[in-house]
């Protein structure tokens, strides 16, 4: 054996003895958790409580929702979560939830980036309508299709509607072709994911610790991508309000599954797990 071969062998043995399996193991190396990302759906709003389709309507948190958001912040504080940057939507229920999280964790000075791309799915012509009424009017099946189909949107709004974003000052700077008159989960994803890729992911890669305070459907879009969830499963996934959802990501921003994750998610919710499961069930009951 040549001297070079001997020393190569020696090196391999040395590596094995220190447990550097990445060199010698034939198993695919499981990514090491490098980044922590926290997602949180806003607290209950006055319209959640009134069971109305909300979408881009800018309803405030209800008193219960404010309380939930504060509790969520406290959970984050207990878990000693530190952030560098917060993303949220243009809608006050998410922004307020974000502010509560920062206040409770004593990080109010952090940059908060509001992004319309993180808005809730736009509910088009159903915006403002009571869910039970709509079921009575259109039938449970049709409403279920509009709510839970992956790519069938509710009826589009007329541009003269008060709910058309073109009539809302907040979106005055948006190109007109970006303004939705209705959305499905598919089209919601089409605006959420490019924003994630272009704006959020690079910052996470650069080592910034991010919290995203957003909405049921914009978060569904995100976790669908992170957890590789199929279309027919994501439409039935309920994300409970104001419950921090923690993801560990590796260097390639692939999710490192958590032992406490509730399938199909690979991230874990903070808080009492039984209560969390009950809340997941609770969201499902809104159009029973």
């Amino acid at each position: 054996m040549s001297m070079a071969a001997v020393s190569r062998l020696g090196l391999r043995r040395a590596l094995q003895s220190t447990g550097r399996r990445t060199f010698t193991s034939s198993k695919a190396a499981l990514g090491e958790a490098k980044h922590t990302l926290v997602l949180i759906r806003h607290g209950r709003s006055e319209w959640n409580d009134a069971n109305r389709f909300t979408g881009w309507y800018d309803v405030a948190l209800s008193p219960a929702g404010e309380k939930e958001a504060v509790e969520a912040g406290k959970l984050l504080k207990q878990g000693n979560f530190k952030f560098d940057l917060a993303y949220t939507s243009y809608l006050r229920r998410a922004i307020k939830t974000c502010w509560h999280a920062l206040e409770q964790t004593d990080q109010m000075h952090l940059p908060v980036v509001p992004a319309w791309q993180l808005n809730e799915r736009h509910y088009g012509g159903l915006t403002g309508l009571d869910k039970q009424e709509t079921v009575a009017k259109h039938g449970k099946e049709q409403v279920l299709v509009w709510r839970r189909s992956y790519d069938i949107p509710p009826p589009a709004l007329d541009t003269s509607s008060e709910h058309y974003p073109g009539n809302d000052d907040k979106y005055a700077a948006l190109p007109r072709d970006k303004l939705p008159r209705t959305e499905s989960l598919a089209t919601t994803l089409e605006r959420v994911l490019p924003y994630w890729e272009a704006e959020i992911a690079p910052r996470i890669r650069a080592g910034e610790r991010v919290i995203i305070a957003a909405h049921g459907n914009s978060l569904r879009a995100l976790v669908k991508h992170l957890d590789g969830i199929p279309e027919d499963v994501i439409t039935g996934l309920n994300i409970p309000t104001a419950t921090p959802l923690v993801y560990e990501l590796d260097a390639d921003l692939k999710v490192v599954p958590h032992a406490d994750a509730i399938a199909p998610l690979q991230g874990r919710y903070l808080g009492d797990q039984a209560a969390v499961r009950a809340r997941i069930e609770g969201v499902a009951n809104q159009t029973k």
Binding site: D58, S89, R92, M108, H109
Partner: protein
Amino acid sequence: MTLSSHPEVAEALALEQPTVEAKYRVIFMRHGESTYNAEGRFIGWADPPLSALGEEEARGAGQLLREYGLGDVDEIFVSYLKRSIKTGWIVAEELGRSHIPVSSDWRLNEQMYGALEGLLKRDVAREHGLELTQKWRRSYDIAPPAVPGARGYFPAGDPKYADLTDDDAPESWCGSARTESLKDTQARAWRLWKERIAPRARAGRTCLVVAHGNVIRALLKRLDGVGAERLRDVCIPRAVPLVYELDADMRPVRAAQAMGPLSARYLANPGQIAARMKLESNEAQLGLHVPDAEAAGGGGGGGGGSGGDSGIESGGGTAAAA
């Protein structure tokens, strides 16, 4: 009736004034009451939250902006201190504009108060005497005493300032630990003004600066050309929007309702302003009677000198009553 009060003469005189067009708008505002304000403590970079009253004052400020038709704020600038940030959030919410940029910067922090931070103003005045206390509160280039046992400009161990070093401190800083003069405050705050706030205003954005008494006084000294002596009497009441209209060169256009050395107008009637100013009088703040001889501009209220970290003062406000 004097000659100049004769209507035709007055008109002729008015026509001779060059009309300066207001082009940009920047609104300044001091945060609402914090728990330390309520307790009569020096604050500086200490970071107490708003009191319940303070949150109410903040909401009131938002309402005032709406009532006066100035609710179309585009950007809010706040400090790193929660009393400023919370006030900014509450105002944004009141205006139905939670989504507008709220930018935090340490350079809008209140003037540092060194070893005095957290101490009761009353106690400090009793221990060190009125003259020295007023020097610490009101002078332009005297810094309050350094924090004993500390080193450097930024509070060590506070994660908010973890990325900052003495190189980021104002150039004029004398090196005394965790304290600065109003001049130092101005140096850093003006840098922020030039770098971030003025450009946004020039871009046509209505800017709301929600900050602290002394840092606002320091900024206005430069923006509004107030001399160091006159500055002593400038009093910034809590949570009352102070509206500056600026010309194309970013120079203040004097408002019809302007009071004293400031060119801006408060969004409140003189009675409301006087009431807020009274809260900040030396008597209210220091629990001491201040001899009238010390009163600089304008009578009434608590007489002379002026206020430390609240930047509030005596006579200034009640000049409005005259």
